[in-house]
Symmetry: C2
Subunit: 118 residues, 2 copies
Amino acid sequence: MNVDALPLLATSSCCQPLDRAGLTDKDAETTAAIFKALSEPARVTIVNLLARSPEPVCVCELTPALRLSQPTVSHHLKKLVDAGLLHREQRGVWAFYTLDREALDRAAGILQLEGVRT
Amino acid sequence: MNVDALPLLATSSCCQPLDRAGLTDKDAETTAAIFKALSEPARVTIVNLLARSPEPVCVCELTPALRLSQPTVSHHLKKLVDAGLLHREQRGVWAFYTLDREALDRAAGILQLEGVRT
DNA sequence: GACAGATATCGACGTTTGTCGATACGCTTC
DNA sequence: GAAGCGTATCGACAAACGTCGATATCTGTC
């Protein structure tokens, strides 16, 4: 199986807590790439808009909300899809995007350490 | 109170779930900045090393582990401190760093949506 | 107070990234 | 199949970033 072809958040080693032992260079790279997807204000806003909608959201609705050009919005959407956080769905000429809430959950899991808390 | 002078993860509006309404441009910027701190493999490795240690860790221990130059490691540590994820402690000539586990928890909270799950 | 060692800051460099205009692609309709 | 529309890709550019060598700063020691 070609892991590199999958969205980051679908790979097997992507979502282990940050306090696990034996973190390889590749693991660190994968984890960093996931958070890099969320490291731009425009992409945070996209996730926010999708998180608040129970239905898939059209690009034609995202573009004016972000006040960015259409190619730039498309660029950010691709980054989020590549990271595994969003799903794309074609409806006629329109493209609709959905937030993968489970993927977001798994990303949160990376930040939840296993150690006993006081 | 000058919020800008505080570590990101200590500001009041930093850690609200990503599905809340009324996300401003500034909120998106703050949230993105937090994840940007975790968007580099070297910094992920630093957090991993600190998460696995119950004691503060010396820079002199981090530098060889990261296989990066001392100025570069210092640079990454500063980024993580500025984000509010790490604390710095001076012990003689040595600098020790500690992971702020509560800050990491709050960062995880951003990714945990409040909506009812199916 | 001069010295030695650990860490932070500075300056410079190449790479990556966000942004946009222009253009290509895919779908629907006539 | 031609035209129109929504979206993705391409090419270019400026800004941001990671990296390192050189240097400054701070601390403890003699």
